[in-house]
C-alpha cells in the first residue's frame, strides 16, 4: 500500500470509529434522517471546501469564500426581487461574477506577487462590503422556481431525505476528485504546491494555474452561495461569517497539508462529515452551554488532528522498521 494514502485512511478510520461511538450513545444517529441531514446541512460547506482543497493543495489559502457565499445570496435575492430574470439566468450571472472575482484575486496573487492570505483577506472584506451595499436587510426569495428546487429530493427509507443540494455536493466532490487527480490542471496544482519555483522550472504555467485555482474557488464559492440560498431561501449579508475557517478545518482534518502539495479531495469530504458529526453529536447531547460547545469543538479538533498524526506516524514507523 502506498504511503501517500495513509492520512486519508487514518481520517476514514477515525470517522468510522467516531460514528460508531456516537451510534452507541444515540442509536438515532444511524437513521437515514441524520445521514440525509449531514449531506444537506453541509452541502454548501462541502462545495466550498472542494474549492478550498484546490487552493490549499497549491499552497495558498482563500479567506474570501464565506463572504462570497453571503454576497451570492444577497445578489440572487436582490436580483430576483428587483428584476424579472429567471433564477437560472441569475445563477449564470452570479457564477460568472464570482469566478471573475476569484480569478482577479488569483491574478493579483500571481502578477503582483502578493501572499494569498492577504489578498483573499482583502477579498473577504470586499465581498461582504459589496453584500452590505446591495442590501443590509435579509431579503427573502419567493420565486416559485426555488420551491421546485427545494421539493426535489429522494425520500430514503426511514424518512431521511437526499436533497438536491446534498446530491449536488456529492457530484461536486466526484468532479473535484477527477479534476484534481486525473487532469493536467490538477497535476499542475499539486506541482505548484510542491514548490512554485521548481514547478516553474519544470514548465508548469504558474500564472494560468494560479488564476485557475482561485477562479475555481470563486466559482465553487458562488455555487455554494446558490446552494445556501436554496437552503435558506434568502440572501443575508451577515450569513456564513467564518465559513472559510470551517472549510479550512475540514480540508485539514481531511488530511491535506496546509503547506500544499499533498492531500485528497475525498479526504475533504470525510473532513466535512467529521465536522458535521461533531455538531450533530453536540446537539443530540443538548446539555452543553455555549462556552462548553466551543471548548468541546476545539478539543475534538485537537483530538482528530493528533490522532491522525499519531496514526500516520506509527504506521509509517512500522513500515520503516519492517523494511
Amino acid at each position: 500500500m502506498n504511503a501517500r494514502f495513509l492520512p486519508l485512511l487514518a481520517t476514514l478510520a477515525i470517522f468510522l470509529v467516531a460514528y460508531a461511538i456516537c451510534y452507541a450513545q444515540y442509536p438515532a444517529m444511524l437513521s437515514t434522517r441524520v445521514i440525509g441531514n449531514l449531506l444537506t446541512d453541509n452541502a454548501f460547506l462541502g462545495i466550498v471546501a472542494v474549492g478550498m482543497t484546490f487552493v490549499i493543495l497549491s499552497g495558498g489559502i482563500d479567506l474570501s469564500v464565506g463572504s462570497v457565499i453571503a454576497f451570492a445570496g444577497v445578489f440572487i435575492a436582490v436580483m430576483l426581487r428587483d428584476t424579472g430574470l429567471h433564477p437560472l439566468v441569475v445563477f449564470a450571472l452570479l457564477l460568472t461574477l464570482t469566478t471573475l472575482f476569484g480569478a482577479a484575486m488569483g491574478a493579483t496573487i500571481h502578477f503582483l506577487e502578493m501572499p494569498p492570505f492577504i489578498v483573499t483577506l482583502a477579498g473577504m472584506f470586499l465581498a461582504r462590503g459589496m453584500a452590505y451595499v446591495l442590501s443590509i436587510d435579509s431579503v427573502p426569495i419567493t420565486h416559485e422556481f426555488y420551491d421546485t428546487l427545494q421539493k426535489i429530493y429522494w425520500l430514503m427509507p426511514g424518512k431521511g431525505r437526499l436533497t438536491l443540494i446534498g446530491g449536488l455536493m456529492l457530484l461536486v466532490f466526484v468532479a473535484g476528485a477527477l479534476l484534481a487527480h486525473r487532469t493536467r490542471f490538477g497535476m499542475n496544482v499539486y506541482a505548484v504546491g510542491g514548490g512554485t519555483h521548481t514547478a516553474a522550472l519544470m514548465g508548469v504555467p504558474l500564472g494560468r494555474t494560479t488564476v485557475g485555482i482561485y477562479a475555481l474557488s470563486g466559482f465553487l464559492a458562488g455555487l455554494a452561495g446558490i446552494v445556501f440560498s436554496i437552503y435558506t431561501s434568502a440572501g443575508y449579508s451577515l450569513a456564513t461569517v467564518g465559513v472559510e475557517l470551517d472549510a479550512i478545518a475540514a480540508v485539514v482534518i481531511g488530511g491535506t497539508l496546509l503547506t500544499g502539495g499533498s492531500g485528497f479531495v475525498a479526504g475533504t469530504l470525510i473532513g466535512v462529515m467529521i465536522m458535521g458529526l461533531i455538531q450533530t453529536y453536540i446537539i443530540f447531547d443538548g446539555t452543553l452551554s455555549s462556552w462548553w460547545t466551543k471548548i468541546l469543538i476545539g478539543m475534538l479538533l485537537f483530538a482528530f488532528i493528533v490522532l491522525q498524526k499519531g496514526l500516520v506516524w506509527t504506521t509509517a514507523k512500522r513500515r520503516i522498521a519492517g523494511g
Binding site: 483577506l121 477579498g123 475557517l245 497539508l257 462556552w291 476545539g298
Partner: protein, 342 residues
C-alpha cells in the same frame, strides 16, 4: 550613520503610507490635528489613533515574531478575551492588582505555551494549531465570565485602559514600551537572527545547532504575552471583560499590520517597528472611516479598498515597476530575489 540609513530605507514605505492616510483624513476633517488636554490626558484624534491602535499594535509585536518563524497565530483574539476575563475575574474576586495582573499575564503565557507545544513538539501546522485555541479560547473566556460582561471598578486596573502617564494615555505608553523593549531584546541579543534563521529554513537551523524547539515555543509565548497585555487593556478600557467580543477578529488586523509592515508571511526578515507603523495605518483607516460620517454599510468596502491599494503599492511587482522608472539598481536586487531562489 549607515545603521539608521538602513533602518529608514526599510520602513519608509510604511511611514509614507501612514503620512498619506493621515494627510487624507486631515483634508477631509480639518480639526484632525487639534490636540488638547482633557482630564489630565491628551485628547484629540491623533491620540485616538495611538490609543485605539494599542491592542492591534501589541498583537502585531507578537505576531511579527511568530510570522518571522514562518508561523501564524490565529488565537491572539481569543487569548485577549481569556486574559481580559481572567483579570476581571481576579479583580472582582478580590485578589490584588499585582496578583490579578500576574494571573492575566500567566494565562497569556500558558496559551502561548500551548500553541508553541503544538507547533514545535507535535509538529502541527501553525494555522491549524492556533485555530484550535481560536475556537476553544473564546469558550474558555466565557467559562470564566459565564457569558456575561464581567464589570469591575478597581481604579488600579482601570488605569491600564483609561489612565495616563505624563498625560499620555496608558495604553500608548504600554505598547510603545513593549515595542521598544522587544526590539531591543531581539536585536541586542542574537534572538533576532536565530528567529529569522528558523523562519527561512527550520531544518538547516536545527542542524546548525539552533534550539529551534525552545525558540519556537518562546515565540508563541511572546505572542501570548502580548495578547494578554492587549486583553488587559481592552478590558480595562471598558471596565469589564466581554468574553464574546474582546479581540474578535483582531488576529486578522494584527496579521494585516505585520504584512503592511513588510514582513513576509513566508518567514525570515522582520521589522517590529514597521509592524507597529502598520498597526497605526490600520487604526488610522478605522478612525478615518468613523470621522468621515459615511453610513456604516460602506465601512468594509472603504477599508478593503484602502488596504488593497496599500498592499498593491507595496507589492514586490509594483516595486519592480517603480524601479523600472527610477532605474535604481538597489530595487532590482529585491526583485530578482523574489523571482529566483536557486
Amino acid at each position: 550613520m549607515s545603521g539608521l540609513g538602513v533602518f529608514f530605507r526599510r520602513i519608509w514605505p510604511q511611514l509614507l503610507t501612514l503620512a498619506v492616510i493621515v494627510g487624507l483624513i486631515s483634508v477631509m476633517f480639518p480639526g484632525f490635528f487639534d490636540i488638547s488636554i482633557a482630564n489630565g490626558r491628551l485628547y484629540g484624534s491623533p491620540i485616538d489613533i495611538l490609543n485605539r491602535g494599542a491592542p492591534v499594535a501589541l498583537l502585531a509585536i507578537g505576531m511579527t515574531l511568530v510570522i518571522a518563524t514562518r508561523g501564524i497565530d490565529l488565537s491572539v483574539g481569543a487569548v485577549m478575551a481569556i486574559c481580559g476575563a481572567v483579570s476581571a475575574w481576579g479583580i472582582t474576586a478580590g485578589y490584588g492588582l499585582g496578583a490579578t495582573l500576574l494571573m492575566a499575564l500567566s494565562a497569556g503565557l500558558a496559551c502561548g505555551l500551548w500553541n508553541g507545544l503544538l507547533v514545535a513538539v507535535l509538529g502541527i501546522q501553525p494555522i491549524v494549531a492556533t485555530l484550535i485555541l481560536m475556537v476553544a479560547g473564546r469558550g474558555i473566556a466565557q467559562l470564566i465570565t459565564e457569558g456575561a460582561i464581567l464589570t469591575f471598578n478597581h481604579e488600579g486596573l482601570i488605569f491600564f485602559g483609561s489612565g495616563s502617564i505624563l498625560s499620555v494615555p496608558t495604553p500608548v505608553v504600554i505598547w510603545v514600551l513593549t515595542g521598544a523593549l522587544v526590539t531591543l531584546v531581539v536585536r541586542r541579543s542574537a534572538l533576532g537572527m536565530l528567529i529569522e534563521a528558523i523562519g527561512v529554513n527550520l531544518r538547516a537551523s536545527t542542524l546548525a545547532g539552533v534550539n529551534t524547539r525552545v525558540l519556537l515555543i518562546a515565540v508563541y509565548m511572546a505572542s501570548g504575552l502580548c495578547a494578554s497585555l492587549a486583553g488587559v487593556i481592552a478590558a480595562a478600557d471598558i471596565r469589564g471583560a466581554d468574553a464574546n467580543n474582546a479581540g474578535l477578529w483582531l488576529e486578522l488586523d494584527a496579521i494585516l499590520a505585520v504584512v503592511i509592515g513588510g514582513t513576509s508571511l513566508l518567514g525570515g526578515r522582520f521589522s517590529l517597528i514597521a509592524s507597529l507603523v502598520g498597526a497605526l495605518v490600520i487604526q488610522a483607516v478605522n478612525t478615518g472611516i468613523l470621522l468621515s460620517g459615511f453610513p456604516p454599510e460602506f465601512n468594509l468596502i472603504i477599508k478593503a479598498v484602502i488596504i488593497l491599494i496599500i498592499l498593491v503599492l507595496q507589492s514586490p511587482a509594483m516595486r519592480t515597476l517603480l524601479v523600472f522608472f527610477s532605474r535604481d539598481p538597489r530595487g532590482v536586487a529585491e526583485t530578482e530575489k523574489e523571482t529566483v531562489t536557486p
